[in-house]
Amino acid sequence: MQHDPQPAGFWKRNQMKIAPYVFFAPGALMFSIYVLIPIVQSIWISFQDWDGLGPKTWIGLANYVELLDDDTFYVALKNNLLWLGLYLLAIPMGLAAALFLNQNVWGIRLYKSMFFFPFVISQVVVGLMFTWFYAPDFGLFSQMIKWLTGSEVAILADERYVTYGIIVAGLWPQTAYCMILYLTGLNNLNSEQIEAARMDNARGWRLLRHVILPQLAPATFIAMVVTVIGALRSFDLVSIMTAGGPYGSSQVLSYFMYEQALSEYGYRMGYGAAIAVVLFLIMMVFITLFIVRMIAQERNR
């Protein structure tokens, strides 16, 4: 006799449908405010001529045309590629350090933390330390070079070596970072697999190559992501160690952007934004690759 009770309120009816969006909303809001909207704004500004104070003037692609004709841009691009290539050395170096430290001897925790130390200290401090290390006259490195070859080389004042010098400074903390990623990976190795491999007489290099490394793949992937992104946004070290010098030869895109848009000698917001957009596009290539891979992995599960 009794009718079904009136369906409850709107919320009860659609709870299952709405709930995911409610959970999604805060994240989406933050992501929009701090990531998406600024990206759109940057792209918008890159089409303008703007000093940050006066009125904006729409100049279309003029900033990009100018960028293509700017020698500094190509220097920065070349240096970014160098960074990208050489920075990846942090991954094998980090792996080597992790394998070396992955043993049980007395005091290993202390050694591990000492290896990890460079990642804990600020990039600014790393930059200053290496600046003094390379400094002509009193720097340890130039003293060593002097002792070995008889003549001094001022790494940070020589356009041939300056970028390599900064990358070496950057590799120090980055190696430590990769090492930590691999150390955690090594903790989670499947010991049964390794035992089985040992029974099959696998040892040394072959054990590493065919049994350990595949298990470390997730760590390698993360190490790859942070290293590539770290290389592309290399800014602190360049800023501290050389400020892009000597005469712009250690320039990278992120510092170039800062210099054009925000430094004492800049305030060309449109031009800086155009550089930022180019850097963003380069990063997008890698980010897309990583995301595609991650989605593929999710599907395989």
């Binding site: 000093d51 940050g52 104070l53 006066g54 100018e66 020698d71 390379y134 400094a135 002509p136 006259d137 001094e152 001022a154 790494i155 940070l156 004042a157 020589d158 050389t242 400020a243 010098g245 000597p246 005469y247 712009g248 210099e259 925000l262 004492e264 000698y265 800049g266 305030y267 060309r268």
Partner: protein
């Protein structure tokens, strides 16, 4: 409940802050963060309060480097009544954007056109005065007196004598000139002086305001003189790796003999252990005979933002700042030179030398990175640094600078 309370409090304080800007109070924003400038500023404000007890001064002191970014924000968002800045092209963007107030009336009412004459041209844009200068300092060659005496050198008066002195020092195993070009601007001191001496002030101003191409033979002539010092190795090696202070030890240790610098270098040399009678100061020697001597003298200034709430009292403050007494006292503390030519002469040996030199100067340049627009200055100084490392690449460097010039002065 607590939230309401907090909000009420906030609204109340906002109301108080808003209404606090009544006549009789001025807000000053400045970047006197280092101990000495801070002391000079505190004294200035205290003395002003004694003289004008009806005006209360509220002073916001900013970090020196951070100020350059901060001023761009507060001029538009929350303008104070008085703001510190620099003369010449450095103030031009703010003047052109309508953010600084025309203070020609303060100049006229207080006879400043006469008293601040040496800095008048660098405070003028479009025929109006946009602020009041209160301090500057001289540039010149600081040298080791004792090393000069040991090698039988008298301070050179012209280019040939300078080259001869360099040769003597070099033969004695002393590098003639110390310099550190990592921060780029020390190179600009050299370019300024060579251009002022080879081509003169008027040409230098035409160049820095973009009217002459960098590929002009007259610009090239400047670099040819420079090359006469660079090519024989008369500057210390590896200068691109060090800052200007890092080159001071070479002077102190007697490895280098001369330093083209601002007067602030004297304090650093003394800190390094040199006594006053070991340091000498000389005007940059003559190059082209007959060209009147002009000098670099970067000037610090105060301005009234266009959005200031209490312009009347702000003008009273600027007038006080311009007075001979205020400038004399402030610059004694700062260890720099008063701009007002009625102010009491400084007693320090180097400042006195600078005061005489600047008073007799044909004209004062503000320094390359203040005379030229920021973007040109940056490219220019990078070019100077590259030239000092690779003097043979001059043509390529000048072509690059010309490209930048064409871009900057549209």
């Amino acid at each position: 409940m607590t939230l309401t309370k907090a909000l009420t409090g906030l609204a109340l304080s906002a109301f108080l802050m808003g209404s606090a800007a009544f006549a009789g109070e001025i807000t000053i924003n400045s970047d006197h963060s280092d101990p000495t400038p801070k002391k000079a500023m505190e004294e200035l404000i205290a003395d002003f309060q004694v003289k004008h007890p009806d005006i209360t001064v509220k002073w916001n002191n900013f970090d020196h480097e951070g100020y350059k970014a901060a001023i761009r924000n507060f001029l538009t968002a929350d303008p104070p009544d008085v703001a510190a800045w620099y003369a010449g092209n450095r103030m031009e963007p703010f003047v052109k954007a309508g953010l600084f107030e025309d203070v020609s009336d303060v100049w006229a009412a207080n006879g400043l056109d006469d008293q601040l004459k040496s800095a008048a041209s660098s405070m003028t844009i479009d025929g109006k005065k946009w602020g009041v200068p209160y301090t500057y300092y001289q540039w010149g060659i600081y040298y080791r007196k004792d090393l000069f005496e040991q090698n039988g050198i008298t301070p050179p008066k012209n280019w040939a004598e300078l080259l001869a002195a360099c040769e003597k020092l070099n033969a004695a195993g002393i590098v003639p000139f110390a310099i550190g070009t990592k921060a780029l601007w020390p190179t600009a001191g050299w370019f300024d002086y060579l251009d002022l001496r080879v081509n003169g002030y008027e040409f230098h101003m035409e160049l820095t305001s973009g009217k002459v191409p960098y590929t002009d033979p007259r610009v090239k002539a400047v670099f040819e003189k420079w090359a006469e010092l660079v090519k024989p190795g008369y500057f210390i090696a590896n200068h691109a790796a060090i800052d200007w202070q890092d080159a001071i030890p070479q002077i102190v240790q007697g490895k280098a003999a001369m330093y083209l610098m601002g007067n602030f270098a004297v304090a650093t040399m003394k800190d390094g252990g040199l006594s006053e009678d070991q340091i000498g100061f000389m005007q940059f020697p003559e190059i082209t005979a007959g060209i009147p001597m002009s000098e670099d003298a970067p000037t610090d200034t105060f301005h009234i933002p266009a959005g200031a709430k209490n312009k009347e009292d702000a003008k009273t403050f600027l007038a006080y700042l311009a007075s001979p007494e205020a400038q004399a006292k402030m610059n004694t503390t700062l260890g720099q030179l008063p701009v007002n030519n009625q102010a009491a002469k400084p007693t320090d040996t180097f400042l006195e030398a600078g005061f005489t030199m600047l008073s007799n100067a044909h004209a004062l340049a503000q320094f390359y990175d203040r005379d030229a627009p920021a973007e040109m200055a940056k490219a220019g100084m990078e070019g100077f640094q590259e030239f000092m490392v690779k003097p043979d690449d001059l043509d390529r460097i000048l072509e690059r600078l010309e490209k930048t010039r064409a871009k900057v002065y549209k």
